[in-house]
């Protein structure tokens, strides 16, 4: 491999890499605004100027191809002076907006101003006034004064979203961003520009002014909006999710996520429709009861049916751990083979960027861990048919809303003698359920999802339930979480009395006389890993933050069998 020297360090690089890329791979950070690893090089911000031996002038690291034996200095006198100068130019017309800017705290301009600027302005003239608060599209707001004209947003629309909508207009210090005439920026990936904008020029209309970044904790998790399973960070303050941002994972979602995932997959977590503690239907009404009472009731009523009258429906929204126990519960405890989960396919959602037509995060995982009919068992459609023929009288439904999916089913389900439901929120199915167990959402539990591609990925709790203590569970904690007391209004966030499905199942099983000895989701996963070929030899550490991809050959064999 060819080598270059950066700051005296010998570094190997791949042919064709630019200096900035080679440096990045070696863990050396060269300041940059307009360069982005997933976008084309534009080279207009000039902050990445570095000194290269034998070159007459400083060169920009983002577009200079590294060559064998090049000697690069990123901290030399000349480079630092150049950076200072670039910062000074950038700040000439930049407003003193940090106090009202959402980007403050995660702003590149702010960071570099601390690192590379003299800290004082020599500019006494009037700054250029531009338009602030311009909605570029329904989900993105633009502030002309803050823009440093790096063109990242333009390149994103052109190259990633493949939907050119943005462009520069005007020249010199009047230059600004706008949409093409007659266009709005409403592509399904538009909000990624908020993340890549190095300053606060583009803001998320949904999150605008909700919180400062340093008040929130970030938890690494997975989007549950479709089978892609984009890697995300869940940002929480006072036990409430305030925003999701994409997390880099080159083999899944790169730096991006879709607007649907970003906006519509977390609000139910803190919604008022959340189910708090188990409920039993008494005289037509769902009544709040304790866990023990609900378990006892479910146990005695399930036992009154013969094995063939019971069907169990797992969930592609639940984790592998949840589904694994659901499958074992059905087969070992209830002794039924009528076991399946519901597929939520929406071809109109799919595109060739990230979105998949399978709108659930874990249908492959559910299938792999055993949520499928056994030899003589019924699949989902046959179960529904059997219910309408009253051959199946009891249904155990996990984390899914059957009726929402298909309203006709409502009349069919009404024929059931017993409907037990695990659900996070009230929905049409819980409206007719006899026993409702409150399930933790994906943001409240540990577990794994398997995406359409066979990528096993971890989710982690970001929001605490009633039983969970942030510190004891090792959850991400912001400063407010660490120091809040129960008398501080900023630490009194709502906590729901909900449990992850696997815990509900193991609780119910032990009441029914079958003991699962699991205390943590990790222990369930250990069993999965030892029992199911695709998961062999895996544990949470191996999966890590970037996931683990099941070999296609293994996957194929397992699904076919």
């Amino acid at each position: 491999m060819p080598k270059i020297f950066i700051d005296g360090k010998e570094i190997e690089f791949k042919q064709g890499q630019t200096i900035i890329e080679a440096a990045k791979d070696a863990g050396i950070d060269i300041p940059h605004f307009c360069w982005h690893p997933s976008l084309s090089v534009s080279g207009n911000c000039r902050i990445c100027l570095v000194e290269v031996e034998k070159m007459p002038k400083l060169v920009i690291a983002c577009s200079t191809i590294a060559a064998e034996g090049m000697v690069v200095y990123t901290q030399s006198q000349k480079t630092l002076a150049a950076r200072n100068a670039v910062m000074e130019f950038l700040l000439i017309n930049h407003p003193l907006d940090c106090p009202i800017c959402d980007e403050a705290g995660e702003c590149k301009l702010q960071d570099y101003a601390y690192e590379h600027s003299i800290g004082e302005s020599r500019f006494v003239e009037e700054k250029v006034k531009k338009e602030k608060r311009v909605p570029l599209g329904p989900r993105v707001m633009f502030d002309g004064e803050r823009c440093i004209s790096c063109s990242r947003c333009i390149r994103f629309c052109d190259e990633i979203a493949k939907d050119p909508e943005l462009t520069f207009v005007q020249r010199g210090d009047r230059v600004t961003i706008t949409t093409y005439p007659g266009e709005v920026m409403d592509n399904p990936y538009s909000m990624n520009v908020v993340d890549i904008c190095p300053v606060g020029a583009l803001t998320n209309t949904d999150f605008r002014f909700k919180a400062r970044v340093w008040e929130m904790s970030a938890t690494k998790s997975i989007c549950n909006g479709c089978a892609r399973g984009c890697n995300i960070d869940i940002w929480v303050r006072n036990n409430e999710i305030l925003r999701l941002t994409p997390r880099h994972n080159e083999s899944v979602n790169s730096y991006w996520m879709c607007d649907h995932g970003r906006l519509n997959t977390f609000k139910f977590v803190n919604d008022s429709s959340r189910i708090d503690s188990p409920h039993i239907r008494k005289e037509g009404q769902l009544v709040k009861v304790g866990w023990d009472e609900a378990f006892a009731e479910a146990s005695s009523r399930l036992k009154s049916f013969s094995k063939d009258e019971i069907a169990v429906i797992g969930s592609a929204f639940a984790t592998c751990e949840d589904n694994y126990l659901v499958a074992r519960f059905a087969k070992s405890v209830l002794g039924t083979g009528h076991l399946d989960f519901i597929h939520h396919n929406d071809p109109s959602f799919e595109d060739d960027i990230l979105r998949r037509s399978d709108r659930t995060p874990n249908s492959l995982g559910a299938k792999l861990v055993g949520v499928r009919p056994s030899k003589n068992g019924l699949d989902f459609n046959s179960i529904i048919k059997a219910i309408s023929e009253r051959r199946i009288k009891a249904l155990y439904l996990v984390e899914d809303d059957t009726i929402q999916n298909d309203p006709e089913i409502e009349n069919i389900l009404a024929k059931l003698d017993l409907l037990v439901v695990h659900s996070t929120n009230y929905n049409k199915t819980t409206d007719i359920a006899d026993i409702v167990f409150p399930a933790s959402t994906y943001a409240e539990k540990n577990g794994t999802f398997v995406n359409f591609d066979g990528m096993i990925q971890r989710i982690k709790p970001a929001v605490s339930t009633l039983e969970a203590d942030r510190a004891l569970e090792g959850m991400a904690m912001s400063r407010l979480d660490k120091f809040g007391t129960r008398w501080d209004r900023w630490a009194q966030g709502v906590k729901f009395d909900a449990r992850p499905t696997w815990r509900i199942i193991s609780g119910l099983s032990s009441v029914m006389g079958y003991k699962f000895k699991y205390n943590m989701a990790e222990e369930v996963f250990k069993d999965i890993a030892s029992g199911i070929t695709s998961f062999n030899h895996l544990d949470y550490d191996i999966i890590g933050e970037q996931g683990f991809k099941i070999k296609a050959s293994v996957l194929e064999k397992e699904i076919l069998e």
């Binding site: 106090p99 009202i100 002014f209 400062r212 120091f483 008398w487």
Partner: protein
Amino acid sequence: MAEKKRLKDLSIWQKIYIPEIFKGLALTFKNMLKPKFTMEYPEEKFIPPASYRGRPVLVQEENGEERCVACGLCSRVCPALAIEVQAAETEREKERYPERFEINMIRCIFCGFCEEVCPEEAIVMSKDYELAFTNRQEAIYGKDKLLVPVSQLQDRIEFLRNYK
């Protein structure tokens, strides 16, 4: 090198102790006859100088609006985590304002950091030291109690401009 005289090398008179006792007694007796400077509080109030750090308040402009833009810096810098700011959007020029601004006066230690960090000169230490509550909830001051017209805070603002 000459021996240094140490404090604990007492003279013989000091060692006998009795004369020293009388010196002390004389001193206290003299003080008994001196004028007193007790301030009889509820009737007679201490009016602090501009440098005094009483409870932090929010500056209210003449038009009734607060200066605060809800940047949350005071909340971040507050060593006692006394301040909670919830921002929201407004139509005003400065886009954001504090929808809720609460200072927990039980937590506050009157350090003045909030005042020092505020980029808008929106939170200043007042001269108000009369703080008493009968329960924890009462001690959380909302915007209603925090907003004080700028005219009443001129003293402090001038002080800050001169010395900050």
